[in-house]
Symmetry: C2
Subunit: 167 residues, 2 copies
Amino acid sequence: MTASAPTPRTGAAFLLAQLGAHAAGLFAERIAGLDLTPAQAGLLRMLATNPGRSQRELAGDLGMPPSRFVPFADELEERGLIERRRNPSDRRIYALHLTGKGEKLLAELAQVGMNHEQQICESLSPEEHGQLLELLRRIADQQGLHPDVHPGYRRLHPKPKPAHDTP
Amino acid sequence: MTASAPTPRTGAAFLLAQLGAHAAGLFAERIAGLDLTPAQAGLLRMLATNPGRSQRELAGDLGMPPSRFVPFADELEERGLIERRRNPSDRRIYALHLTGKGEKLLAELAQVGMNHEQQICESLSPEEHGQLLELLRRIADQQGLHPDVHPGYRRLHPKPKPAHDTP
DNA sequence: CGATAATGATTACAAAGTGGAACGATTGTC
DNA sequence: GACAATCGTTCCACTTTGTAATCATTATCG
């Protein structure tokens, strides 16, 4: 076969971007069954691990302007998944918390995440899966990525799903 | 340290999505110096490896509707990077080709890609880098991903670069 | 202690991005 | 030779996006 390739056309960085978008899209499809977007799921997880933060902080971590965070949180609050609590010492701030319903949904979300993980890593042996995890964690750590947020959360609506059954 | 984690909060799938978005964003910043978006770079590469295809085909691979592909290709043509050639046997079709200028830019792009790869995999030994490549390729292959396109190409404008020098 | 600046949440709004439908031109089918 | 299909393109309504202005509350400071 031919030898020299001008570009490493399938370098690790490109594969990461490609697989990342693929995995993110697949995950978005899965959680659409729970009426959640990736950004919404991300917020729920953030609130679970770190409750009581202000909206501005959360918006910052999600990479979206505060103005768009408001209706974003509104919907989740109307659905009874999160709660806005006033801070008595500083009444400007809304401390966001997960409701019981929100925690329940988060549990379902965890299950979905497990299935998703399995689907993505289907072609890997348990040892290889462990290897991959370690390599990815190392890179993520060295690149200074926070454990809960990724830049893709900026986008609210992934897409309205042109399904495969409507002719 | 604490033991049970309700969710594999840093599973491989999540890390892939996170790192993928990170790598894609970083790459977008790099090629912004060449006045290119990821989608534009993707098209150039597609034309290099597979010239003469129709606009509809290319739009399909890029995941965008033909209506948006037209101005997208227009700009690249105005900049003299690609060429629309009429097919004598079927005058409906425009066969897209890379110009000399386009090939030249693609070479620069390859260089950028190498630097980018190095930056992402900085924390890995050569052996580990090879391991990662093999694992990612296996997954990508099993997930049915084409070697040249990834779903992130759907988006045209990555962002207007909020630089770090303008107060 | 009262005026002023600063911060958080929210609203208003203009600009841009997006996909689907409609339109000529050309080609395949029968 | 009429009719459906295909390609490139234009048109357009709809949504998404970020910035600026607004209101309430708190810190600063003379």
